[in-house]
Symmetry: C3
Subunit: 141 residues, 3 copies
């Protein structure tokens, strides 16, 4: 069973909690046991499991910006590195690199109709090149 | 088929080899072909495949500490950055961020009853906020 | 259904596009719906989804070399850090660490015989310790 979630991001970098929408799809599938794949078919976004706490979400976005800038404040100021060659044709090398580091899919165990995630393990779309409309594929198998 | 592994960590950051326990569950499932999911339902731990060599394990933990501190020795000394906002309510922003970077699950091919992993690809629970009791879910599908 | 792809790398760090070969295996399996696992059974290589653009591929390899060197040009010059303890027995701690950060597998949704990946989401073997012969396992489930 495959279904889709559609979200619109508002920021260049943004964390959007999609836990409820994923769990609704799983419930409506009627499938009780197996695997659940959450997959974003984009190479400038990611799927991240983390705690939905306001400070932590800011820490995440700040950390990712610093990481892709090599922890160099000047490079960060210059919108993630004028040195990226991809930026000659499209200004989003930072988005691709962070997307690949975080990953674009997560797989969950499903048992008795329940996604076996931890209580601090909310499911987020990680937008890295917004604002954009994004599609997330949920497959219950 | 779903089963659990329980481990107790002793350190804040620690690598615990769970390869034998995962493979025992796979064997006992009697399932010969499919997918095996190893999933830790925590957002301050990870599942990592790497070589079980003492020096490399130390390199991993040292690298992760430096990474989350922005490769800044002073920030590392200050227990992974006093600047994290999440640390106002819970002193483990570093644990969440490294957990998300490494990921909390791995999926393996299963063929003829054998997990098709490489010989240098041991399965580790990566503890990032210990000491704690941790549960790992293994699903054979 | 399980099949293999064999590739030979020529460089220490290299991105090799295997999208066509993965999709050929999926097509030949005759399976229309389910999950597809692409798994490299090595701990010094990775599977990465990113755009196949020449500049971006150089950005990726350059970023990874800098990352594992702590963004320190001198450490990068010294072939990824004389300080790694694993390098006393095998000169590839950098390869293991980057392999673990990127991950050694990806899972895709399969629907109507088609891998539901994005158009900028090519599938790459990420060689991190070449030149070597590498095997990639593709399981359609």
């Amino acid at each position: 069973m495959t279904d889709e979630i559609n979200v619109s991001s508002e920021e260049k970098y943004q964390l959007i909690d999609i836990t409820d929408r994923v769990e609704k799809i799983v419930k409506e599938s009627g499938i009780k046991d197996g695997l659940v794949l959450v997959f974003v078919p984009h190479s400038t976004a990611g799927i991240l499991l983390t705690e939905n706490e306001a400070g932590l979400k800011e820490d995440w976005l700040s950390f990712l910006k610093r990481l892709v800038s090599g922890f160099d404040p000047e490079a960060e100021q210059a919108r993630s590195g004028a040195d990226f060659q991809h930026n000659r044709i499209d200004d989003n090398a930072d988005s691709h690199i962070l997307s690949g580091l975080i990953g674009q899919e997560k797989v969950f165990p499903l048992k008795g109709g329940r996604l076996l995630r931890g209580i601090w393990q909310q499911i987020f779309l990680l937008e890295l090149d917004g604002p954009r409309n994004r599609k997330i594929i949920v497959e219950v198998n």
